[in-house]
């Protein structure tokens, strides 16, 4: 019975590897199966390497504003290979960090592609010629870029990219079309624009960053346009084809057909879950539009089989994957998970950044909540003025009846580092009173959080 575990986790992304660590902490004998790199998409091909690239772009773009700060450089330039190399080095460092954590927690790492067969009390995990059994099996196989081959939205390894190719290019394209203005599409648009590419973003929905609050979407649109990013919104994509030197994208915007030509096209039209070839259907696992259907603890309905993270549905975010995994394995271990509702923040690391948590104003209205809304612009925040980062604002949404904070939406410099404050407030079920009574340090950009909560009740001080 050498291969009998308490828990086997399939996939080692931020969902899987965190789940494995927590399982081991709870005294469960744990194995993790990974077919390619430890750390999954997030560490190797997602969150982390993109942030490394974006930092290079941000620093480089800042050089254009040196004069504002009383500084000067002779000539600005970049070494594209070195920019990409740095991003890969950062990913590699974190990847070996996960390997270390697995060793530290005595988690057996099994390399290979996992398949599932009927078994009891949980399905049997088959990797190559090894058969692993466990009491509980957690599927955390993540997701990959959605492609639509019928209209040419399919990577060709050369001029048509998904995020994979966009992370390790040989050179920055002179002209670039990005299809899809979600977080991933906009981050690549932001990065390549910073390094001088001419970027056009095509979005099918009526506005960019369509899941964000409408005011934030609009402000982001303006800021990006100011940086020279062009948009076609809303536009439907008819066909993408390769030309002699690049790509041609046929679209229809405002009732008019148009063809956009560029060196390269990045396809960022959503993602699909990794649910194929594992034997899930034969086990009777329910799959809804490429995602495994689960209950509130990750249970799939098949005894002993759970699913968490990207493969279990939106939002497709690393911290959501980790959170679900911990919740699932604590439930398995018989711990009583807290009864708290944990809102999941979402961040986009463009210039300027966008971050949000909870309901948008429109969603609150749809739920019949009669929201009270506060806003505060960085334009009049002391620290923002001193730092030369006055773009953006913070918007807060409160339940008009109870005063509970139900949403926060922000755009501006490093707002992704601030949104956790509102997430904590929401987990604590805070109302406007607690936020207004909290003392925020001066001078910080976070004072705009305070002012926004004051403004919702007509009490803002600096405007």
């Amino acid at each position: 019975m050498a291969d009998a575990f308490d828990v086997i986790v399939i996939g080692s992304g931020p969902g899987g590897y965190v789940t494995a660590i927590r399982a081991s902490q709870l005294g469960l004998r744990t194995a993790i199966v990974e077919r390619s790199e430890l750390g999954g998409i997030c560490l190797n091909w997602g969150c982390i390497p993109t942030k490394a690239l974006l930092k290079s772009g941000e620093v480089y773009e800042q050089l254009d504003h040196l004069k504002d700060y009383g500084l000067a450089v002779e000539k600005k330039a970049f070494d594209f290979d070195a920019v990409v190399k740095r991003s890969r080095k950062v990913a590699a460092q974190l990847n070996s960090g996960v390997a270390f954590l697995m060793k530290k927690h005595k988690i057996e790492v099994v390399e290979g592609f996992a398949k599932l067969e009927k078994g009891s009390p949980a399905p049997t995990v088959v990797v190559g010629d090894r058969k692993l059994t466990a009491k509980h099996v957690i599927v955390a196989t993540g997701a990959r870029a959605r492609t639509i081959p019928a209209i040419g939205l399919e990577p060709d390894g050369e001029r048509i990219w998904t995020y994979r190719e966009a992370l390790v290019p040989k050179a920055a394209p002179k002209t670039l079309v990005v299809i899809g203005s979600g977080a991933i599409g906009m981050e690549f648009a932001s990065f390549y624009r910073a390094l001088g590419s001419e970027v056009t973003v095509v979005e099918m929905m009526p506005r960019i960053l369509p899941v964000e609050d409408e005011e934030v979407s609009k402000a982001a649109h303006k800021s990006f346009e100011k940086r020279g990013i062009r948009f076609r919104v809303p536009a439907s994509v008819k066909k993408l084809s390769k030309t002699a030197k690049g790509v041609a994208l046929e679209i229809e915007a405002a009732g008019k057909a148009e063809t956009l030509e560029a060196d390269v096209c990045i396809v960022a039209v959503g993602i699909v879950g990794n649910v194929e070839d594992m034997g899930l259907e034969a086990l009777g696992v329910k799959i809804d539009r490429t995602h495994i259907v689960t209950d509130s603890h990750g249970g799939t309905g098949v005894p002993g089989l759970y699913a968490i993270g990207d493969v279990a549905g939106p939002p497709w975010l690393a911290h959501k994957a980790s959170h679900e995994g911990v919740h699932c394995v604590e439930h398995i271990a018989g711990l009583k998970p807290t009864n708290l509702t944990s809102p999941i923040p979402g961040c986009t690391y463009t210039t300027p950044q966008v971050a949000s948590v909870g309901l948008t104003e429109a969603q609150a209205k749809e739920q019949g909540l009669d929201p009270k809304v506060g806003r505060f612009p960085f334009r009049v925040n002391g620290k923002a003025i001193a730092a030369g980062e006055t773009d953006g604002f913070i918007k807060t949404v409160f339940d008009g009846r109870t005063g509970a904070l139900i949403g926060a939406h922000m755009i501006g410099h490093e707002v992704t580092e601030m949104v956790q404050g509102f997430a904590i407030a929401m987990t604590l079920e805070a109302t406007e009173a607690e936020l207004q009574a909290t003392v925020f340090p001066h001078p910080t950009m976070s004072e705009a959080m305070h002012e926004s909560a004051l403004d919702a009740y007509g009490k803002a001080l600096h405007i």
Binding site: K286, D295, G301, L340, L369
Partner: protein, 284 residues
Amino acid sequence: MTGSGPHGRIIKADVDKAQPASPQAKAAAAAPASAPAAAAAPREHKSLEQMGIAPGSYDLIPLDGMRKTVARRMTDSFRDVPHFPLTIDIEIDELLAARAKINGLLEKTGVKVSVNDIVMKACAVALMKVPEANASYSPEGIAMHHHADIAMAVAIPGGLITPIIRKAETKGLAQIATEAKDLAARARDKKLKPEEFQGGTFSVSNLGMFGIRTFASILNEPQGCILSVGAGEKRPVVKGDQIVIANVMSVTLTCDHRVVDGAVGARFLAAFKEMLEEPLRMIV
């Protein structure tokens, strides 16, 4: 009240549970003007445990998208639409004979017309004769549909779906049979496009093959009627003063009373019955 939060702290979930109505419903009630289309108060949902089912005594199958859609649409319809059923018996000996003849004629083409195909065709023609039954209620007014777009309920693994025969009144039986077969097959493979199952004007649901005699379906909003078709079977019927054996099929029309009143429903059923009892009427 005991708190279920960290260290026994009372949290929102505890307060919500202690209240008879959900906070959203109350907020909506308090501000009716600002929340125009606020839905009716959502039911307070008790856990299975609270309702006496022991944990561990069952397997929980998570809800997929289709199950959620069926649950929501059927609940909304059954709760919000004032509906009533009308049942009528139809003798179908002539229809069965006509069907055998038609299928004989079609033999070479490989097309086979089912009783349900004829039922759909007859519905479409009857709807043209009684257009008030081919209608939808909306707060802006009653929509009188130009065509009979007949939605047919198809059972598929995990639920059901209603693909549509568009403009069925303009189509011959062979075409209806071909389309129905193709739609049902693709429905089972989950290959239907949204426009193929959204927006019918009248539904037909048939449980005859299971031996069900009569049943009354729940309306498929915004359609004004749905016809529930039972099994065709030999029954004793009174003709003159004699009891004779005939093939009889009972059908039930569920009507949205906001748009289809009893007399309208009855007129539709009369027209429908006439046509099935004398199938030649379908072509005159």
